[in-house]
Amino acid sequence: MSLDLSKIPSESRDQAKSDVGEFVVNEILRSLSSGTSPVKGQTFDKLNAAYADEMKGGYRTPNLELEGDMLDALTFETTSSGITVGIFEDSGQADKADGHNNFSGKSKLPLRRFIPKSDEEFKGSINTGVRQILNRYKRADDKGSSSFEALSLASAALEPDLTIDDILKPFLLGDLFG
């Protein structure tokens, strides 16, 4: 996943990429919990009733979770231009993940893609969130007309008492006046 980091100061880019990576992984997991694909245009069929009865106590939502090992392995790595999200070979779960995503073209399982192929993308709400995260790391001059966006999550998180006023500000006012 390539990210536009051009307006983010170099000293903030690693943190920005890390934040985006954590967000995207969490969003994938959230989609899967409700049995929906995080990939634009992809849908999941419900679980076969017989399989659900036998393996999941009748629960037919396709959340791709039985023992949880595969989704535990979902993670991200930062690259020079952005992040790579996936289930990597060293986890021992990559074959299982390919069974659902079928990048290899060899899977016999119903297609339930939770990682976009090279010609696909995540659904819009995820991309919107990514843009907002990157925006809070941009130089103040590059954030657009809203001066309210100058405060960043990073600085707010260092306050001794938990405050999310500064954190919510980019989401609130950036959207309101942007």
Binding site: R30, D72, A157, T163, D165
Partner: protein
Amino acid sequence: MASVKVDFSSAIGQIGEFSKAGAKIAAEELKKEIVIEISEGRSPVKSQGGRFQGYSPIYKTAIDNGRYSNFNKRKRPVNLKLTGRLLRSIFSDVISSSKIRIGFADQLADIHNREGAGKSKVVRRMLPTNQGETFTDTILFRVGTKLSRLAKKIFR
């Protein structure tokens, strides 16, 4: 009990009358999002690894053996839910028009969030109670979007 204070003052105070409604709505939205995340097996706390650590082998065996079948307990997701009492104990206080406090009243919250549960003392973070911590961007994104939509309605 575990709780955190959340200060919205500079975020919503700048848009006048929205702040009173905003604090209440923000509290409700935060509570909803926290419960969703925990119910689906993820920590609401940023940089805590996302998914909760799996249950212990002993606990999983007990689930397999039907010990908790009355509660329809499954090995996944790791949702800190058996009777549901803990998650139902989430509360919020509106301290002022722009400050709220959110927490779990049940004593199990502090065990999961700070002390650690079971023999192995596994900590599963439920609230960002340590200095420098915050909620995940997944939660903040949704709460922010909700409040933004509300503000647009008010100012339309």
